[in-house]
Amino acid sequence: MTTRWFGAPVQRSEDPRLLRGRGTYVDDINLPEMLHAAVLRSPYAHARIKRIDASAARALPGVHLVLTATDLGELLEPSPLLVPHPALTQPRTQLPLARDEVHYAGAAVAFVVAEDRYLAEDALELIDVDYEPLPVVASLEQAAAEGAPLVHADVPGNVAAHLVQRVGDPEGVIASAPHVLRERFVMERGSAMPMEGRGVVARWDAHEGMLTCWMSTQGPIPIRNGLAAMFHLPEHKVRVVAPDVGGGFGTKIMMFYPEEILTPLAALRLGRPVKWIEDRAEHFVSANQERGQIHDVEYAFDDQGILLAVRDIFLHDTGAYTPYGIIVPIITACTLPGPYRLRHYYSEFTVLYTNKVPVSPYRGAGRPHAVFVMERIMDRIAAELGLDPLEVRSRNFIRPDEFPWDVGLVYQDGGPTIYDSGNYQAGLERLKEALGYEQFRAEQRRAREQGRYLGVGVACYVEGTGIGPYEGAQVRVESDGRVYVSTGVTTQGQAHQTTFAQIVADQLGIDPRDVLVTTGDSQAFYWGVGTFASRAATVAGSAIHLAAVKVRQKAKQVAADLFEASPDDIELADGKVFVRDAPQRALTLGQVAIAANPLRYSYGENARKLMQMQLAGPRPGPALPEERGGPGLEATAFYSPPRGTFASGAHGAIVEVDPRTGMVTILKYVAVHDCGRVINPLVVEGQVHGGVAQGIGGAFYERLVFNEEGQLLNGSFMDYLLPTVEEIPPLQVEHIETPSPLNPLGVKGAGEAGTIPVAALFAAALDDALAPFGLRIREMPLDPCRLHKLLKELQSTQRA
């Protein structure tokens, strides 16, 4: 097989449509007779609902339906717990509409359906809710404090979960180590902020008995299964489609958001299509968030800078509910060892409820926190011993001949945390060179003489990607020779229509433009999980590859029968299926597909040509020999990874800081990235670019600020600062390819990687730039004001 498309920078097939404004995002779906919904949200972070009077709203002309908790009947059930875990002893999930109590500001209290969105919002103002405010838990510290108010009255101490993992003998090693340090690191909340908010359009077709929902989601198939159960419909009578999705970054893998139940319910009750579109103000208080953790870490190292042991005890803010179980803190615990030979590690975390928006994975999903802690440790070891921070990392790296490397922890999927492959030193070397690390020190000295503060920071990470349980795909050659692929994962901008087509094109010897890929439609492919955890290319990509291999084998078999040749002598290339060394004995792939489907009647150009060719005529025996397994050139395959595959990277940046203002300018940014074999470098680089930009936001601009009443104070794009093009520098991406031995393509996930190390290297670069001030960053995210304040504090301590 000649690999031609895999690895090539193929331009995206999805672009012409999107560039013309012909994408179909949920809010672009306008159906006849469609009604519009709006959600009344709690203004209180914690309150008892004493009474709801919706009569005025119901009486407003143009209002078709007002739902409150008491109108939901048997649907008034907490949303299913997606990922149970034995350590999660007090799981709590959300009701579609709050009944007696609201647990965060933004919780859905009522749902109005009206002729248009304007009217629906008018009606919200007419709903009278009598709230009795209750004491609020607005921060992690507060949640953990003795005698703290309770988020859920029946959850003592606000503790949802507690988990301890231990590798080796950390206490013994720390007791006898030459150097031991303790530090506290604090991470605060941010938000994924996809440019498209959430949204649902639901249509009930009574004639077909079919419920169709278009949702801006990363997991339509599990939602299909859930809706079918809730509404007592056969699964095949519920179709959930994630059409074009305007970014997800994890926040859209949550299920069920209340509106994902309420909108179909309204469509079923009213018999008319209903649309609900989340606006940005709602997104700030109703779409899941992440990142709040506090780590108390104790670590030991020797005189050579070898890290001997780590004891990390952390608190994790899960918000008001645990819809996603304890996935995020488990990932934090398992990511912390990073690329280092850490043999003695104690990890303990407590998951605490707060009266804030629920937490579920956001790009990076617990990893930026872990990398922040570990990389801060590496930098500190270097500072304590007067060593180069990169040298300390090199001394601690797992070596290429030590794979598979068993970290000794249980990963988020319940399997062992075993690194399959990697070459961390090679990545760091590449980074050092691309960054101009050696030369930078001289530049830094010169700048400092001029009163300018330049600094360099580097961070390394290992990232679990491509977890199971499985994905599947169907690959079918249609009569015109084009190939149709369907799979259960979704696409939120990752270019699956292109990269999946590249995988198939190589197997079938065709142009990827002749491969049509459908993702995110539960009716197109029945089985699947979703796009999250950097798994689509690895898991669905492998399934597609396996299905395409089967189709290739079948095409060879059918052509061999037609040409009376051996299947081993049949080749597929340039859209043709032909006998090796006799290229005149050739059919197009479409003709073979027709021949593989013995019919009395065939249509189209390919069929006519096939008839004229008078190949092998009627034979004795069945028209479909057993070994063909069915008509047509079609195959379905599933891929279930034995465990996750571990990607890695090393990022570095050179920054300039103005200590008078706290403003930071990134002068250079380099990402060295190893996601195994690269299917499409354009796409992977784009993923890394976007991840880095989100990481920069999460390191220096994006902090959700809540007051002591649990009210979000910066819930708009004027106040919560997404980086613009002026904050993001040109980005240089370098690839290293250490193939994964776990899957047939040798690929690893790439989607989240860019985000993961940024806060850590930002902290390192700031420390380096402001070393004359004795700065040591222990928190993320920062912002110019906060940095300025830290410097002021340092200066006043120094003066004192």
């Binding site: 560039l19 013309r20 613009t724």
Partner: protein, 179 residues
């Protein structure tokens, strides 16, 4: 904006207006509620759904359209404010059968879009920007794009695309002048 005298009394804001507007060269006459946003008018009344709404408070730039050639945010305008004016939306740059506009082509070639949601707004902003600045340097490009948010691309390839688009537009301009 409006006050209710009694809870439950019908709100008093249902005034409508007969709007005449040219969008992508086509004249439309529609009766619209005066409170309807221009973005909603384009998307839901004219079915021009290529103009996207990302924040509804004038920051993200997804809803950018050209009003008499100038880039404006359609979520910050009421439909009635564009009475008797001419608008261009993303659908007006290249029809389905036509070739992509040079800016669109540059975005594809430089992989300057991922989810595509912010893309129409960017392209309309770039259109107005390059009209004003046909030979921008990188810093000018970055300043010119700072009113549009993208959450997928990290902007790197968008900046590259704008450089390429400027080049394409200049060469087609000089070709026209030669002809």
């Amino acid at each position: 904006m409006y006050a209710f005298e009694e809870p439950g009394s019908p709100p008093q804001f249902c005034e409508e207006y007969d709007l005449t507007v040219t969008v992508n060269g086509r004249l439309y006459q529609r009766r619209v509620p005066v409170r309807m946003l221009l973005s909603d008018f384009l998307r839901h009344e004219l079915q021009l759904t290529g103009t996207h709404v990302g924040c509804e408070h004038g920051v993200c730039g997804c809803c950018t359209v050209l009003l008499n050639g100038e880039a404006v945010r359609s979520c910050l305008l009421l439909a009635v404010q564009v009475d008797n004016m001419a608008l261009t939306t993303i659908e007006g740059l290249a029809g389905s059968s036509e070739e992509l506009h040079p800016i669109q082509r540059a975005f594809q070639e430089k992989h300057a879009l991922q989810c595509g949601f912010c893309t129409p707004g960017f392209i309309m902003s770039v259109h107005a920007f390059l009209h004003e600045n046909p030979e921008p340097d990188e810093q000018q490009i970055r300043q010119g794009l700072a009113g549009n948010l993208c959450r997928c691309t990290g902007y790197h390839n968008i900046v590259e695309a704008v450089k390429l688009a400027a080049h394409y537009l200049r060469s087609s301009q000089s070709q026209r002048e030669e002809a």
